[in-house]
């Protein structure tokens, strides 16, 4: 009797640890986006390296979390919501991994931009990045707190990200049309906003998974 209680307790403990690891991985991922965009705005080579180091760390977390989740499933045979939490963790880390890869893609843009310089001070791109980072943070918070009520806020931000994408794209294209010399830089800016938009999509995936985790129902949402 008391032994079984012990086992249950450590199982809950393990589950909590698993979630905390996902949270840590989320923190690293948002840090990577933020640094990647800073590297671009400031054309800062040190930050490029930092983002690559973070990506390695994120990759390690991914492996550790996956292992722990699979162990939990094998040893504890979780059911119902516990199973959904573990399943969600596995899916969320896939999203976070992808997000981290986009941060790496952004620093590749920084590398290409370093000797070109910017055509103007970047304002809208960092703004778009801030909103995107908020979305990732909120989605991971919603997982930690097991609270799907962040859904609306996240989708509201997603709509802002889409609007910013459209606006920045038009702006960049206009500069390219005025002066063909801007094509090289312009194309790079468009890549960055596309990466940010994809990151935002992954934040939406995460919240959708939390909704499923909490309610057992899938979100039906046209985006």
């Amino acid at each position: 009797m008391s032994e079984e209680k012990e086992v249950r307790k450590s199982y809950q403990q393990e589950l909590r640890e698993l979630k905390e690891m996902v949270e840590d991985m989320g923190d690293l991922s948002t840090k990577a986006i933020s640094l990647a965009v800073e590297s671009l705005v400031e054309l800062d080579e040190e930050k490029i390296e930092k983002v690559r180091d973070l990506d390695d760390e994120i990759y390690d977390y991914d492996k550790k979390i996956e292992k722990k989740a699979l162990n939990l499933i094998a040893l504890q045979a979780p059911v119902a919501k516990d199973l959904r939490i573990i399943g969600s963790s596995l899916q969320i880390i896939t999203d976070l991994n992808r997000i981290s890869r986009y941060s790496k893609d952004i620093v590749k843009v920084t590398e290409r931009m370093i000797d070109k310089g910017h055509i103007k001070k970047l304002i809208s791109i960092p703004h778009m990045a801030d909103i995107t980072i908020d979305m990732v943070e909120l989605s991971v918070d919603s997982f930690m707190e097991e609270d799907e009520s962040y859904l609306e806020e996240i989708y509201e931000k997603e709509d802002m990200v889409d609007a910013l994408y459209d606006e920045i794209f038009r702006e960049v294209l206009t500069y390219m049309m005025e002066d063909g010399d801007y094509i090289t830089q312009g194309t790079q800016y468009v890549l960055v906003i596309r990466y940010l938009e994809r990151i935002a999509d992954h934040a939406c995936n995460i919240i959708d998974r939390v909704v499923y985790m909490e309610t057992g129902e899938r979100v039906e949402m046209e985006t």
């Binding site: 509201e156 802002m160 294209l173 049309m177 063909g180 312009g186 194309t187 596309r194």
Partner: protein
Amino acid sequence: MLAKIKEVLKEDKKCERKELPKDIKMRVEDFDLWYDKNQALKSVNLDILKNEITAIIGPSGCGKSTLLRSLNRMNDTIPSARTEGEIWLEGYNIYDGNTDCVDIRRKIGMVFQKPNPFPFSIENNVFYGCEVNDMDVDKEETVERCLKDAALWEEVQDRLDENALSLSGGQQQRLCIARALATEPDVLLMDEPASALDPIATAKIEDLIDDLKKNYTVVIVTHSMQQAARVSDYTAYMYLGELIEFDETEQIFENPEKESTEKYITGRFG
């Protein structure tokens, strides 16, 4: 669920809003622009009417290009440029300092003085914006539609894969118009689009501009008063950074209110 979210999104995002009369597409309000200490626009007020052609005229250096570019915030790339005042586009101030005001989807296309197609094929010039943006539209269909709208289709339909730089200056300029149309703007800004062209090519561009107003609101800067008189519905006359007079084109050319305007249009200027 979705409906509810859409509802939330409609709510005000603390952006400045202003109801404009239905027929006004853009409103310039008490707008100033400085390049360092040199004031290039002085408290300009101007309404751009929907589906009409507005011409901006005035002597060299009076601020025509500066005003036109301000309509699309193109002064953002000039570090020394600083602005005050507002420019409203469908109820939103495009100079709103609140970065959360992303509802302002500035759907503005621009055509510049020098025909400057990209060094690609004709069709890739038109499709470039859609391509870079990964837009899910049919290439052939888009290219044909935009080239037709730019009155260039007949001349190039058999050589879409040829380099755009092999076209004549007038054709290149119409290609630049087609390229701007491909991004589906609703306002089209043109800065002396015919100044580098011969009279025949110019006439073609002018005919085209007249057709464009069915679907677009057009603002055109020109140093040619004849051109303004031929193509525009409204004319704004500028002098030394000030908007001196704005009225229906006919009025401006037949019976200007200000002496300065009269001098300029009758060529007794300077």
